[in-house]
Amino acid sequence: METQLVDLCLKAACESRDSVEKWRRQRRSLEHLPSQLADALLRRLISRYLLFPSLLEVFKHSAEEIDLRGDNNVDAEWFAYIGAFRHLRSLNVSGCRKLTSSALWAVAGMRSLREMDLSRCSKVNDAGIRHLSSVTTLEKLWISETGVSAKGVMLLSSLGNLSVLDLGGLPVTDQALSSLQVLTKLQYLDLWGSNISDKGAALLHMFPRLSFLNLAWTSVTKLPNWLTLECLNMSNCTINLLEGDNGKAPLVKLIVSGATFGEEVADFHYIETTLLTFLDLSKSTILDFSFLSHLNALEHLDLSSTVIGDDSLQLIACIGVNLKYLNLNNTKVSSAGVGNLTGHVPNLQVLSISHTSVDDVTISYIGMMPSLKVIDLSNTNIKGVIYQAETVPVPVREPEPEPEPEHEHEPESVSVLSMSALQSLRHLERLNLADTQVMDAALYPLTSFPKLSHLSLKSASLTDISLNYVSSISKLTNVCIHDGVLTNSGLNSFKPPATLRMMDLRGCWLLTEDVITSFSKTHPQIEVWHDLVHISRSNQTVSNTAPSSRSTLRTSQVKKKHESIPMLECFLDQRLKYSREELLSMQFSSVSLAASIDSGIGICNTQSD
């Protein structure tokens, strides 16, 4: 961490190209620069897009780390300079797509390099690995999704100090893997998407220190089970048998998302139940969840898109004491099941039950899970209102009676706003109610949520009244109101909370471009998203999102067209001009027009219809 004056100096040094020119000739100072300052200066130059190959040269005596990830300019010229770095310990060029194998030649003789990340450098192939194989100091190497073949992987056997090796997405064969057995220091091995079979997987226990293993998307069917393994990923595999000794693996983390289980392994008897804290079973074929009742240490449990139902939630309640994350998306879980959990999950912070049939009764149960920070209720039957006339089970905690907002249209039925049950959640930060049946009035209780910072809504029945409530949520930073029928006048009179930084109004088809633009001029701190326009907070550049306006020529043409059409004010309130049927028929056309060549013309066409 830099001190304040060091930070000011870094800022001043990286102000512009000119300021760089002022110090780059000070050779003596640069040679004496302590490595942590050199690394900080390099980082700052990279983030300000001020680094170019020959400038790298001045750091060759000082820098220990270079992180150029995602920079598409990096090529052999950059590496010619990097090769001369005396003390370079870590080099990250992941995602530098221009980088070729021959560029890596410059790295070949380096004596200090410990870590190298070449992930997603698709032009790097076996020839590049040949250059790397002489850098025997390497301890961590990432070459996932490169052009390296099984032959290239075999060349890695000369890197005897490797402890971390990422071979994800490479066609590693059993034979190639067996040639890596000399890498006895290996602790982390990533082989997702490789051509490894059970034969190759049987060799894996020859790595005496291996604790992290990723075999996702392979044809391995035997679940490795030996005494060093702590973290295992076998997502999207078909798992039938156990591999290894009969002891229990000290697994802390098990990810078997999308896996198909055979009978012998589906009961997880081989797991040391006191250690497992992270279990991802999403999309897997597990039918019997009774094993869950033994997993007392669980903190993270993902059961989304499994066949779990209400009865199995009882099992989760038994082990809920340590649970912090629970995902039940896309399951048969109903409100009654969620009720089983109340009182048993004192530490639950994240609860996700979207795409289920839960209704408003669930909300009153959720209101009794005291540590919740994030709740996802999207795509459910939540209405936000419970009508007492209907025969719904009475929620355990009676929400406050409705404070009668002035726009209430059903005076005869006694209703309570279910969301008020969440007011007792002191830590609630994020709430997702997208694609529910929530109407404006149901949002009233949100205004008294003390910490709510992220709110997502998506419904065609949300109107300007929702904006009214949003403006009184005191800590709100991000709000999404998709597909609402917000109007220009509603947005004009909207007083955003002082904390608001992002407002996503995509699909609010009644809003026009100039009203959104003027809104963000009045509130420059807010980033605004809409189908017609995207205004980012940092530099206040207005970009038409739909067409990727790469050429400035086109944007200037659009501007000209805008200027040449007078009376832009006439579509401030389009509802007055069109009948409801006409508006509905235009809902999709305006979006598709916006997606056509330029949005300016799109609006004009709609107007002239």
Binding site: T3, Q4, V6, W23, Q26, S29, L30, H32
Partner: protein, 98 residues
């Protein structure tokens, strides 16, 4: 300015800067020198010599000390650093822990 409230900072070339102790103690390194009970020579004479820091840089450092005090008391002004000085000043700031 009483003598016991000040401290003398001496640059590589021998130039002396007399600054308030409060200001000098913006630097954690100087603070340690002046307050440590071990009896540094610096503590007794109220003088610190920096054979590695040139006059120009030490002058800038002293200005920063006072700017920092003002900044902390709520006067928000910009502290301008000439690009030519950034490297040397950065190293001095790193050494002085300020």
């Amino acid at each position: 300015m009483k003598k016991e409230d000040t401290v003398k900072l001496i640059s590589a070339e021998g130039f002396e800067f007399v600054v308030h102790k409060d200001a000098a103690m913006v630097s954690q390194t100087i603070r340690n020198m002046l307050t440590s009970p071990g009896g540094f020579a610096e503590t007794e004479h109220g003088e610190v010599t920096f054979p590695e820091i040139s006059t120009t840089i030490l002058e800038k450092i002293c200005k920063y000390f006072y700017w920092n005090l003002q900044f902390a008391s709520g006067k928000q002004t910009e502290f301008h650093i000439e690009p030519e000085l950034t490297l040397e000043l950065m190293m001095a700031a790193n050494y002085l822990h300020t």
